[in-house]
């Protein structure tokens, strides 16, 4: 007959063996799971996401907006269905992530949404709240204030211009100038480039002067603008005076 001591020590030895086996099995499972996770990575590599952007349409129709979708994920084989609450999208179904939206009569707000489809499966959707630019609509019907802008400190004429050049530019504003007004500077190389940095606005100083450093170019332009002006970083053609642009001055660089 086995003594209780022997019996309990045998049982504990069996327990230890079982524990070791379980630990080994767990370690193997963990290793397998780790390997599987490493192989699986994190997330579907072909998942599609879309973000919408609205911008004023070219021309003078303030009720029309250009809506474009920015696609994350493989865009091949995708098509897009456009929806709004009260306005109208044209086209309503497209193979490119872009449409033209028009507000409904009397509406100043809307919500544009897009569904992204691959074959017969919806793979993503997004929406954007849009507002009618009422200020712009008002500005189109009302005459602007009597203001002028002048460039008095003209940088040199350097047609190549570009990143590695630097010069000073400055000038004055005259007329019915509000303190909210700002100056946007452009220098022309192969196109007009905003100066000195992307999205740079310059305040009007006391004495109605303004100034900044700039990269050089063949010509220079200064725009006196209202708050809310969407300053393009690069331009082919400078904007005309009207709506947000109150005054404009263009000079050729100073030749030495």
């Amino acid at each position: 007959m086995t003594s209780p001591v022997t019996s309990s020590s045998t049982i504990s030895a069996k327990h230890r063996t079982l524990k070791r086996r379980r630990l080994a099995a767990l370690a193997m499972l963990a290793a397998c799971a780790g390997g599987a996770a490493a192989v699986a990575g994190c997330g579907d590599p072909n998942a599609v996401r879309v973000a919408l952007q609205a911008s004023p349409a070219a021309g003078r129709d303030v009720r029309r907006l250009d809506i474009s979708g920015q696609i994350v994920g493989p865009p091949a084989g995708l098509h897009y269905k456009w929806f709004s609450v009260s306005g109208e999208c044209d086209p309503q179904e497209s193979t490119l992530p872009a449409t033209s939206f028009r507000f409904a009569e009397g509406a100043t707000r809307d919500r544009v949404s897009v569904e992204v489809w691959r074959d017969d499966r919806r793979v993503a959707q997004s929406e954007i709240d849009v507002r009618l630019d009422e200020q712009r609509a008002r500005m189109m019907t009302q005459p602007g204030p009597d203001v002028r802008i002048e460039i008095t400190q003209i940088p040199p004429y350097e047609p190549e211009g570009g990143d590695f050049t630097r010069a000073e530019i400055g000038g004055t504003v005259n007329g019915d100038v509000s303190p909210d007004y700002q100056v946007v500077i452009y220098a022309r190389a192969d196109a007009w480039y905003i100066q000195p940095n992307s999205h740079a606005f310059h305040a009007i100083r006391q004495g109605k002067t303004w100034g900044s450093w700039t990269h050089t170019g063949s010509s220079y332009a200064a725009l006196l603008v209202r708050p809310g002006f969407d300053a393009y970083t690069r331009l082919d053609v400078l904007p005309q005076v009207g709506e947000y642009v109150l005054a404009r001055s263009v000079v050729e660089g100073a030749r030495r």
Partner: protein
């Protein structure tokens, strides 16, 4: 029960030792104990039975067989089985066994010899008699704490030299020596696979190398890239798992058994026997002593070797080949082998007709060219003497007989000696290992690229910052794998651009592509916002970029220009 008298003697001996009436243990003192028992303690019936057992040579052989097969298995002393050869060797010198012809061979030998030692007699220039038979045996140590761990029989040697040989053998069973042995085996040792599997694995590595080579320099695989890379990764993983799994199993088994044998050798007494009554000067017999000590541990329990493929193969080859192997070299406790005087010893081996292989330290004098020159020199002497002696009546007789060819094996460490004597070194396996290492290095270096193809990272989104310079377009992406993506600008106003994505530091740190904008001389539209930016996944294999990349993102130029400023 047969030979009850021997059991009677054995129990009398054990109990006498336990009671303190006998000073030596029953195993080490078996000869003296037997003499005492047979003369004074044995009953007349026992004596008659002993006389009956020795009456004829056949009856003597029956007793020897019984002692080796039955008694040695059943008797136990200090937790071990008594070695039958040792018991027979001891009994063979006392009455009445000293008159038994059947025990003749046990009087001067413990049985099969191991690796021969080359010990030059004083003034010898290398004669065949200088190649000496060495026998080793492990015997459960006596209870006497002062009992030596190594006993030299038939010769004298420095205790330090014998101890170094024993410690080297211990190290080869479980210690740095065994690590060196296992490392050598892993690097280029014969594997336990059947021949067909070995060939299949070699072919597998060659196929993996060919696939990797094709991916690096072959034609663009196009749509077949994914299956090709998947096949390569699966093949490589299978080969690595097979190789490492087999190696780990062999190494683990060898380590466990080695540790068990080491404990046995530590506990037991090692007896080395070399006839001639020599007084050894220097430790140049250290290598054969160590190797024979290992063989003795194996012979004490050969069945245990089945637990380890490596030890089993080594000892099987050593046991079979030992009569043709000689060794010389001074061995340190850590297994390193030091140079010794060689020329005369090689000459002795060349003159010994049984020696085909000799283990030497790694020294100039052991090169194959030197051995050949020595052999040629001996041949000329031998041939000249023969020709002179056999010129009969003007007629010359020709002899086709040659001195036996001797292969030298130079070793820096006892582990190398074991690799040689165990026939474990495999040139094809070395070649396969080199190929496997090269392929694995390429695969490890290409792992991120393989992952990018097999499990591409998610498509990244464009994020801030955008470029502060109006002359540049920055496409910043929220990805941790910039090397897997490229950015393309397609525009009718600006020059098309393709740019790699990289991580930038500084004030505007981000993962991004930087594109220099340049207006086309002949643009087809006057819209400076015209442009589509595509994010492309790159598929690469080390230095090779495959085409075309998969497009995984589409942005407008105006969106990216305003990103972070709206």
């Amino acid at each position: 029960m047969r030979f009850v008298w021997f059991w009677t003697f054995w129990h009398w001996s054990r109990e006498g030792f336990r009671a303190g009436s006998l000073l030596r243990g029953p195993l080490h003192g078996i000869a003296g104990h037997w003499d005492e028992w047979y003369r004074h303690e044995a009953s007349p019936e026992d004596r008659r039975a002993v006389e009956d057992a020795g009456r004829s040579k056949a009856a003597q052989r029956a007793f020897v067989g019984w002692l080796a097969r039955h008694w040695a298995r059943e008797a136990e002393w200090r937790g071990s089985r008594p070695p039958a050869r040792f018991v027979l060797g001891q009994l063979a010198h006392v009455a009445p066994f000293d008159r038994w012809p059947a025990l003749e061979k046990y009087r001067a030998s413990y049985g099969p010899a191991g690796v021969w030692a080359i010990v030059l007699a004083e003034g010898s220039a290398g004669e065949s008699a200088d190649v000496r038979r060495v026998e080793a045996l492990v015997v459960p140590a006596d209870a006497d704490a002062a009992a030596p761990a190594v006993v030299a029989e038939g010769f004298e040697a420095d205790d330090a030299a014998l101890d170094a040989a024993r410690r080297a053998a211990l190290g080869m069973l479980g210690g740095t020596g065994l690590l060196a042995f296992l490392a050598l085996w892993v690097a280029g040792g014969r594997r336990p696979y059947p021949r067909w599997l070995g060939a299949l694995l070699a072919l597998g590595w060659a196929a993996a190398a060919a696939l990797a080579g094709w991916l690096l320099v072959g034609p663009d695989p196009g749509e077949r890239l994914l299956p090709l890379v998947a096949a390569l990764a699966a093949l490589w993983a299978a080969l690595v798992m097979t190789a490492t799994g087999a190696a780990a199993a062999v190494v683990g088994g060898a380590w466990r058994l080695g540790a068990r044998w080491r404990r046995r050798l530590e506990a037991d007494q090692l007896r080395l026997r070399m006839s001639g009554g020599l007084r050894l000067i220097g430790g140049s017999a250290g290598v054969p002593f160590s190797l024979n000590a290992l063989l003795a541990v194996y012979r004490a329990n050969p069945a245990a070797a089945s637990a380890s493929w490596l030890w089993e193969r080594f000892f099987r080859r050593m046991r079979a080949g030992a009569p043709g192997w000689a060794a010389t070299g001074s061995v340190a406790a850590d297994g390193r082998i030091s140079p010794v005087v060689l020329e005369s010893k090689l000459r002795a081996c060349l003159r010994h007709e049984d020696i085909s292989d000799v283990l030497t330290p790694w020294q100039r004098g052991a090169r194959g060219r030197v051995i050949r020159q020595l052999a040629d020199g001996l041949k000329e002497t031998h041939g000249g003497r023969t020709a002179a002696a056999l010129r009969v009546g003007g007629a010359r007789l020709g002899f086709a007989a040659e001195l036996p060819r001797l292969r030298g094996h130079r070793c820096r460490h006892l582990a190398q000696a074991m690799m040689s004597i165990g026939g474990l070194t495999s040139v094809p396996q070395v070649a396969v290992n080199v190929l496997a290492l090269a392929v694995s290095a390429v695969m490890l270096a290409a792992l991120p690229d393989l992952r990018g193809i097999l499990r591409p990272p998610p498509a990244p989104a464009a994020v801030a910052p955008s470029s502060p310079s109006p002359y540049h377009l920055w496409v910043s992406l929220d990805t941790k794998h910039p090397e897997d993506f490229e950015v393309l600008l397609e525009s009718r106003f600006w020059s098309n651009r393709r740019a790699t994505v990289a991580a930038y530091g500084g004030d505007n740190a981000s993962v991004r592509a930087e594109l220099r904008l340049n207006r086309l001389d002949f643009q087809t539209v006057s819209d400076e916002e015209d442009g589509t930016v595509w994010i492309e996944r790159r598929r690469r294999f080390l230095t090779r970029a495959f085409a075309p990349g998969e497009r995984v993102g589409r942005y407008t130029l105006s969106y990216l220009t305003r990103l972070g400023h709206d």
